[in-house]
Amino acid sequence: MRIVIAEDDALLREGLALLLRAEALDVVATTDSPTTFLAAVDEFRPDVAIVDVRMPPTHTNEGIVAAVEARRRRPDLAVLVLSAYVEQAFATDLLAGGAVRLGYLLKERVGRVEEFLAALHRVADGGTAIDPEVVGQLFARSRPDSDLSRLSARERDVLALMAEGLGNTAIAQRLFVTDGAVHKHIRSIFAKLGLAPDDRADRRVTAVLRYLEDAQRRS
């Protein structure tokens, strides 16, 4: 797996590279600004980009903009965005073009190396990894009259884990229920959100995006 890192904080950048290289992952370039990052994407053709949200010059959302631009140039590029704090507007900007090969994690998750590596691989393999914090915040902010409010507490748990990018089996393990029960919950979620049973994988993503849209309409 070829990886490019974009992070303006030198210590953190080197720490990340050190961690990934120790896991025998191929960090092909480390960059400290949106421009050098995009140049590295063009030059090194990485499989995955790990991007910090706050980068020069204004230290606001340059990372998001750069990630969106990199995806425009290379639609098959997997992007894992790291953020110091949850900003739902960033998440919706990022996910506007779909949630495939996309991750949005709080920076401190990197310290839980096993989970971080799992998320990295999931994103690289075409999945989604959205931070539980992001999902939790979206739940908290969903409108009382929205579709989401009709979900039961358990269905919300399932949807939250889906948004994090977990598969049915992983969700069943987390919630200590059977695969069958998870299936049942997911069918119910799709029904309540009015998602037609066509493409199963797309529906999962759509359900997650429904959160984000809901939160965006609210704000």
Binding site: D9, G15, A22, H59, A84, E108, V110, R112
Partner: protein, 432 residues
């Protein structure tokens, strides 16, 4: 009202004789008190009227000099003299009954003075009070004096030669007691006039002050509101900018360091199994990063409100700044007691920012910081002997100083001619 109440009482139930005597005594006491009060007010008004008269004369002089062209620079000083007279009247009227708030300081420039609504109204006030008010004051003083003189005349007329006449305008021959008693009767007239007219004259005399020295209404109130709104917005802006700065230094400093710590700890844990020596090395780096986080937290905290301000006060804090300044710098602080924390913090940052400018841009050989308090204003000045030419737009921290000072409803002036010296003056309301 009390009169009518008394009259009704007497109709409803004819009061007993002692009761009527008591009421009469009360009535007389009230009349005496009101007259004495009126005379007191008229005399007090005469005092401020003399000041107003002096101010009017000064205004006339300055106006005449301005026609020739040499008077214009004196206009702001004349406005200050007018303000002095007006403030004495404000204080007098505030003691009397209604509280009249003091106006904002007289603007500094000629244009500002001429357009200031307070100054205009005060000019009108001194014109009215210095003439009509003065006349009423003189009259108010002479009425009771004449009354006393005339009333006492029958007792001492015999020591004077008959052709000397009586007191005041009485210049006819006084032949014997009957004539003297007539003079005494005129004294009764004066007394009656004093009692009857005194309170009205006192009110009349106070009228220009009440009308013209109160905070200007309508347009002028809205001006003040606009100014307050602007400074308040500036305060919020300065506040928001400050919060943004703190937020950023926390996020990009301490938080990133701590994230690095967790990343390195995670890496160390993974390395522990495979390569313990490597794990120790990574832990070392994590340790360094944690220490960096602490150092950055300290510097952020220090920049929010320097603890030295709290611990040892403004003087010690400014001494510390001067000691750290690249240019030799003297500090003179003459402030009794403490000001509000936000004011001290602002003064501290003004000096910090100004000294940074001195060290970076001025090329000065020395600088002097003085801070003193007069009344409820804190005056801060930073002077250097550098090359001058400092301005708001030169990318220095001057704009920041100005905004921060204006946010506190203070005043900021910068004098920095090319070639120097540069003088930065800041005036802050102390808020205590």
């Amino acid at each position: 009202m009390p009169h009518r109440a008394a009259a009704q009482d007497s109709v409803a139930v004819a009061p007993a004789r002692p009761e009527r005597a008591r009421m009469a005594r009360r009535y007389v006491r009230r009349g005496v008190r009101m007259s004495v009060d009126a005379i007191e007010h008229l005399v007090g008004g005469l005092g401020t009227a003399i000041l107003a008269l002096a101010a009017v004369l000064l205004l006339v002089l300055v106006a005449l000099a301005s026609v020739v062209g040499i008077g214009l620079p004196m206009v702001p000083s004349a406005a200050k003299a007018v303000r002095l007279a007006a403030n004495r009247e404000r204080a007098r009227l505030s003691r009397w009954d209604r509280d009249l708030p003091l106006p904002p300081p007289v603007p500094t420039g000629l244009r500002g003075v001429l357009h200031d609504p307070w100054v205009r109204r005060e000019a009108a006030f001194v014109a009215a009070h210095g003439t009509v008010g003065f006349g009423l004051g003189v009259l108010g003083l002479s009425l009771p004096i004449s009354a006393v003189q005339n009333l006492l005349f029958p007792m001492y007329y015999w020591v004077l030669p008959p052709e000397a006449g009586g007191p005041g305008f009485i210049d006819w021959r006084i032949d014997g007691l009957p004539d003297a008693l007539v003079v005494g009767l005129i004294g009764v007239g004066w007394l009656a006039a004093t009692v009857a007219l005194g309170p009205t004259m006192a009110r009349l005399q106070a009228l220009p002050g009440r009308q013209l020295l109160a905070p200007p209404r309508d347009v002028d109130t809205s001006l003040r509101i606009a100014e307050l709104t602007a400074t308040r917005a500036a305060a919020l802006d300065a506040h928001a900018v400050e919060l943004r700065r703190i937020e950023r230094s926390l996020h990009d400093g301490a938080q990133n360091r701590l994230v690095a710590v967790t990343v390195l700890l995670g890496a160390a844990r993974r390395a522990m199994v495979r390569d313990p020596a490597r794990a120790v090395e990574i832990l070392d780096r994590a340790h360094d990063s944690a220490e960096l986080a602490l150092a950055e937290l300290r510097s952020v905290v220090r920049s929010i409100l320097p603890p030295v301000l709290d611990d040892r006060g403004l003087a010690a804090a400014l001494d510390g700044l001067a000691a750290g300044c690249g240019v030799p710098c003297t500090v003179q602080v003459d402030v009794a007691g403490r000001c509000a924390a936000s004011v001290e913090a602002t003064a501290y940052f003004v000096v910090a920012e100004a000294l940074t400018n001195v060290a970076r841009h001025s090329g000065a050989a020395s600088a002097a910081v003085t801070v003193h308090r007069s009344g409820d204003r804190l005056h801060v000045s930073v002077v250097d002997d550098g090359r001058g030419g400092a301005s708001d737009g030169s990318g220095s921290g001057i704009g920041g100083i100005r905004r921060r000072v204006e946010a506190h409803d203070g005043r900021f002036t910068l004098t920095s001619p090319p070639g120097g010296p540069t003088t930065l003056l800041v005036e802050l309301p102390c808020g205590s």
